[in-house]
């Protein structure tokens, strides 16, 4: 069991150039890693016996757009956990909002396969070297990346209205029942 500052120390010793920023005094201490070396850092963190981060608890994409005081960017956040050592750490990677692309950690933690597919589906982040980078929650032919802050919902999908139809919205606003009652034809 290591505390977050100790883990950071190990990382800084191993990758002096690659740790761009870190914050230790928060609820979940994190370190920002250079995007190009995430695979290298992750595989070190798994194989190093003192760290042995053997599982990836969560992989999330975050779209920082329209937030005061923050540069517009995409972030991939890796919540790592070690079942052996029982300590945790958070890695972050900054990506540009246009054409974001990063190496896959699928070969390190098998579950990353699905998490990365989700991040691809929702944010359009490409994971280079991923074995099966398809949309996972949305249909294969869905357009756009829904969890981006500037996502515009399409009017229709394959001819089916996706948004609430205008006439129903008006009915609902007037307090009329929307939809049909199957028992009153």
């Amino acid at each position: 069991m290591k505390t977050a500052p100790e883990i950071l120390q190990v990382l800084q010793a191993q990758f002096p150039e690659k740790i761009l920023k870190s914050e230790m005094g928060v609820l979940d201490p994190w370190a920002r890693v250079e995007a190009g070396s995430i695979v290298e850092v992750c595989s070190f963190m798994k194989s190093d016996l003192n760290l042995s981060f053997d599982t990836l608890a969560c992989l999330s994409g975050v779209d920082f757009k329209g937030l005061k005081g923050e540069t517009e960017r995409l972030e991939v956040v890796y919540h790592l956990f070690s079942m052996k050592q029982r300590h945790k750490f958070v890695l972050k990677v900054e990506l540009p909002r246009d054409n974001p692309s990063i190496g896959t950690v699928e070969g390190i933690w098998a579950i990353a396969n699905w998490h990365e597919r989700e991040a691809f589906d929702m944010f359009g982040i490409r994971f280079e070297g991923h074995s099966d980078l398809r949309r996972i929650l949305c249909p294969d032919d869905w357009e756009g990346y829904p969890l981006r802050k500037d996502y515009e919902q399409p009017e229709t999908y394959r001819g089916m209205p996706v948004r609430p139809v205008k006439q129903f919205v008006e009915m609902a606003n007037e307090g009329l029942p929307v939809g049909t009652n199957p028992f009153k034809a």
């Binding site: 928060v26 609820l27 979940d28 053997d54 599982t55 990836l56 608890a57 969560c58 999330s60 994409g61 975050v62 779209d63 937030l67 956040v77 919540h79 079942m83 029982r86 958070v90 933690w109 098998a110 579950i111 396969n113 699905w114 929702m122 949309r135 996972i136 929650l137 949305c138 249909p139 294969d140 829904p146 969890l147």
Partner: protein, 374 residues
């Protein structure tokens, strides 16, 4: 959706999204050679309701009803995880009554969820009667919940900083009565199903999930414990005062075949119900006085920051990654769903099994599509 090239003797069998035992709207593409399944490709997303997008557009308390709708079998546990994460972000410490009540509802909900899991599992294997016995007991728990907060499935009970209602008068006695009635049912269930020769033949030795594979896929909860790993967040990373309760963490023992089989996962759930009863008994005994809404903030507006809160739901580690920008709406909420990781491992552990075994494995990992697809 492309059909890969396959040899002449193989057949693509499309299982789901409408199928009696895919536990919701899961769709599996099976490549079968006679009865033997060569390859499985899960297709998910049929129940995707954009939870994470919704959460960005409502305020913090407004997310709670949505969390209930993720794992609708164990809503209490879902909203508990979210409430705890937000409280952690805001630095709220709730009083002891709230803690004890949260433990009580979470454990009752855990029993209800495991009952459903066990009952439907029996049905997957072809035994119908245990299913109804389980539902009979589950009904009593739902009645208790209905009495407490007016809802039977989607409770909106755990609020940020407190609870929506205190328990009604007589709740403790009714719960004790339920526990007294329920305890013999577990033994009956074991006799009828768990140790039935046919049931063991069908489930032990099928869908073997090894420890390393499980950890690599971040499989959690009863599925991980079925593989012999004693890992329970209630013990390892306690919340709500779980560290003050005396209970055991049941793990799979590989009694009837290799460790980590379907039977092990199933039986871990059966024994977890007994442990939940233990916790319930202690919580009911100690239940302190207090105001359940004492710490509920007028306006939930966490400071800028982020948190990854995790709790042990009946299905495993449920994580909420919440990013706050200091406004009343969350900036980003990401759910790490235990079912998501459990289903990801399904193609690996059921490769080369028979069609009937696929059903046994799906049932044993106990997924709820509402949470998987969010």
């Amino acid at each position: 959706m492309q059909v890969e090239a396959f040899e002449g003797e193989e057949m693509i069998l499309n299982m789901g999204p409408q199928h009696p035992s895919t536990h919701g709207v899961l769709r599996l593409e099976l490549q079968t050679d006679g009865e033997v399944v060569q390859k499985i490709t899960p297709h998910i997303g049929y129940l995707h309701r954009c939870f994470e997008k919704h959460a960005e557009n409502v305020d913090y308390p407004g997310v709670i009803p949505y969390t209930d709708r993720m794992d609708y079998i164990a809503s209490m546990n879902n909203s508990l995880g979210y409430a705890l994460a937000v409280e952690k972000l805001m630095g709220i410490e709730v009083n002891d009554r709230v803690k004890a009540l949260r433990v009580i509802v979470a454990e009752l909900n855990r029993i209800a969820s495991h009952l459903l899991s066990i009952g439907t599992y029996a049905m997957d294997i072809g035994a119908f009667t245990p299913f109804l016995h389980c539902f009979r007991e589950r009904e009593k728990i739902l009645d208790l919940f209905e009495w407490t907060c007016g809802a039977r499935l989607l409770y909106n009970y755990n609020w940020v900083g407190g609870l929506s209602h205190d328990i009604p008068e007589g709740f403790v006695d009714k719960t004790r009565q339920f526990m007294a009635e329920f305890e013999p049912v577990i033994a009956e269930q074991n006799e009828l199903l768990s140790f039935n020769k046919i049931f063991i033949e069908r489930t032990a030795g099928v869908g073997i999930l090894g420890e390393e594979l499980a950890i690599s896929y971040n499989v959690t909860g009863p599925n991980l414990r079925g593989s012999g790993v004693s890992w329970d967040l209630r013990k390892a990373d306690p919340y709500c005062g779980y560290e003050t309760y005396d209970f055991n963490v049941p793990v799979g023992q590989g009694k009837f075949g290799p460790l980590g089989s379907c039977w092990d996962r199933y039986y871990v759930r059966v024994r977890e119900m007994e442990e939940s009863l233990k916790i319930l008994r202690q919580a009911l005994d100690r239940l302190p006085d207090g105001d359940v809404q004492e710490k509920v903030p007028k306006k939930v507006k966490p400071p800028k920051g982020e948190v990854y809160g995790r709790t042990e739901t009946p299905r495993g580690e449920l994580g909420y990654y919440i990013v706050s920008d200091g406004s009343p709406n969350p900036f980003r909420v990401k759910i790490k769903s235990p079912c998501f990781t459990a289903l990801a491992v399904l193609p690996v552990i059921s490769k080369g099994e028979m069609v009937a075994d696929i059903i046994a494995v799906i049932g044993s990992i106990d997924i709820v599509m509402g949470e998987l697809d969010r």
